[in-house]
Amino acid sequence: MDIQGVIHFMQNYTYYIGAFGLIFIGLFIMLVKRNLIKVILGLSILETGVNLFLVSVGYISKGTAPIFSNASIEGKSMVDPVPQALVLTAIVIGVAVLALALSLAVRLYQHYGTLDLRQIREQRW
């Protein structure tokens, strides 16, 4: 692959790299971190990555906002509106989950006195 190809790829798919980068970072945090808050942060990053990914799915390079104002640019250069709608929903859901997770974390801390997930293992096998 020549340098042109790389640049082309970078130009068109940077969003994806960013999105999946965030997703993997989020997953990595959830895999290795022991602190519940950090894990929740990882979750948040993961969700952000997913949202970014969704948005980038619908993005067209140099496209405009999907607002029906000018008939001439309709269709081709407008970004897809559906993923944006999806992302809005996903963000809402993500916020709900995050809020719930944090509130549960507070309750958990009240019970255990710690947020170290290695010690929060009463429920097992």
Binding site: L46, L54, V82, I93, I120
Partner: protein, 498 residues
């Protein structure tokens, strides 16, 4: 069917989602009027839904009901597809929901009751949405409704184990949802549509490798809720820490709905029509591991939870065989599991209340103290093990039969393994039955039956278990058409897209 033909033939399936949702948000208002009314709201709502679901069965057997929300024609609008599968599941959800809500009337006494009922309605709404929707993103949304409300309900009592389980459930569930969302995004990126039928039509001509990644992501994401083997670590915790009514719903509805989503995606969207070796093995593995874990439990609810894993394994095994009989068997197994496990959790709930402990050893002499509950428990256990004349028998019969109909040595051996799981299952369930009936309790042996409102659903479950066990033809018709709906991708596409 025209757009808003609410009462044309049966009750419009949209109402199955709308009515509970509306009441869920109406509950706080009702709660201001009277707390007592609140606990009856789910009962009324689900009586209505049940009647609606049942009223739709005759129509559905002819031709699926397609409802286009907002009048947009698919693939552009969101649509509900109430085929035999959808109606079957909505009837099941409604029935289980109704029964458990009756049970909950007396069972839920402490804690924020009003919120319980809101979340309960939401949970079932989510489940109902998942089974009825024809749109993949809509499925995700309903799925999230289901999941979030169940996270919350698992921690309903706010005790140590509940919160811990809820947190763990939440983390795993959230990862699963994220993966699912990525998969949906990928699919949308590839095909530019979210309608299942449309996706299915396009996928059939797509490159299988390209399609595979979103599929794997979606299976994994939904697999968390469906409790496939390594993804099901949340299940025993959540089921055992939740209030028993919620355990019944989680076990009877939530994981089934998850599995429904998996098979819907596999069969309808990705058009799998031959058996899937990976899932056959996964099913057997899930079954064996679930049963083995259950075997070494002495906490009744954990045991029942692990048993659910085992049952899910059996269903996965059945669906993975992917013949029409097998899928019908899998669906039948879902019904029998919902009924049996729901009954077991409900009975166990009151047994736990009376004995004050979840340890199986504390149930000694229960047979004398709460005879009716114990009979219900026993029948549930027998049904889960698959003994005639209970409902577990015909379902297991159908599954094993279709596995053996494959006629290969491999499947015979796998069937043998599945039945080995049944043996283990029998061992621990019969152990409990023995403890209940044949061990003398050292505590008080006064008769202390569960309240009548808890007994009614148990009785109805028992009745249905026995009746369908003896007359499986009541459900076989709809099961067959449901199986053909699942397996027949072309028909699905044609009926949705016209």
């Amino acid at each position: 069917m025209n757009d808003f033909g609410l009462f044309l033939n049966g009750i419009n399936p949209v109402l199955f989602i709308v009515v509970p949702l509306g009441f869920a948000f109406g509950i706080p208002l009702l709660g201001m009027i009277s707390k007592k009314i609140v606990k009856w709201v789910p009962v009324f709502v689900y009586s209505f839904v049940l009647v609606g679901a049942l009223s739709n069965i005759p129509d559905v057997l002819d031709k699926p009901i397609i409802i286009q929300i907002g009048g947009f024609v698919p693939p552009f609008g969101i649509n509900l597809v109430a085929g035999p599968v959808g109606i079957l599941f909505s009837a099941l959800i409604a029935f289980a929901g109704l029964m458990v809500s009756i049970y909950a009337v007396v069972y839920i006494k402490e804690g924020p009751e009003v919120r319980y009922h809101i979340l309960y309605l939401l949970l079932l709404t989510g489940a109902m949405g998942v089974v009825l929707t024809g749109d993949i993103f809509n499925l995700f949304v309903f799925f999230e409704i289901l999941c979030i409300s169940s996270y919350t309900l698992v921690g309903y009592f706010g005790n140590k184990s509940g919160i811990e389980s809820a947190v763990k459930y939440l983390i795993q569930g959230a990862i699963g949802s994220s993966l699912l969302l990525i998969g949906i995004g990928l699919l949308y990126g590839l095909f530019g549509t979210l309608n299942m039928a449309d996706l299915a039509r396009q996928i059939s001509s797509a490159d299988p490798v390209t399609v595979f990644i979103p599929m794997a992501l979606m299976i994994t994401g939904l697999g968390v809720e469906a409790a496939l083997f390594p993804l099901n670590a949340w299940l025993p915790d959540a089921h055992s820490s939740a209030p028993s009514s919620i355990s019944a719903i989680l076990s009877g509805i939530a994981i089934e709905v998850g599995l429904y989503a998996v098979i819907r995606i596999l069969f309808t969207i990705f058009g799998i029509s031959d058996f899937i070796m990976f899932f056959v093995f996964l099913g057997v593995l899930t079954l064996l591991i679930g049963e083995m874990c259950a075997f070494s439990q002495n906490n009744i609810k954990r045991m029942l939870a692990y048993s659910s894993i085992g049952q899910i394994g059996l269903m996965v095994f059945a669906f993975a065989i992917a013949t029409s009989h097998a899928v019908a068997g899998g669906l039948f197994q879902m019904i029998s599991h919902t009924l049996g496990k729901g009954l077991l959790f409900m009975a166990a709930g009151y047994m736990i209340i009376r004995s004050g402990s979840m340890k199986t050893a504390s149930f000694e002499g229960m047979g004398k103290r709460m005879p009716l509950t114990c009979v219900a428990f026993t029948i549930g256990a027998f049904s889960i093990v698959g003994l005639p004349p209970f409902i577990g028998f015909p379902s297991k019969f159908l599954i094993i039969q279709s596995a053996l109909a494959k006629g290969t040595v491999l499947f015979t051996i796998l069937t043998g393994l599945v039945l080995m799981g049944t043996v283990i299952e029998g061992a621990y369930f019969f152990r409990i039955v023995q403890v209940i009936y044949f061990k003398k309790g050292n505590g008080d042996s006064e008769r202390n039956e569960a309240p009548i409102a808890a007994l009614i659903p148990m009785f109805l479950f028992t009745a249905v278990i026995i009746i369908i066990g003896i007359y499986p033809k009541f459900v076989l018709g709809i099961l067959d058409s449901a199986a053909s709906e699942l397996l027949n991708q072309i028909d699905y596409i044609r009926s949705v897209l016209g």
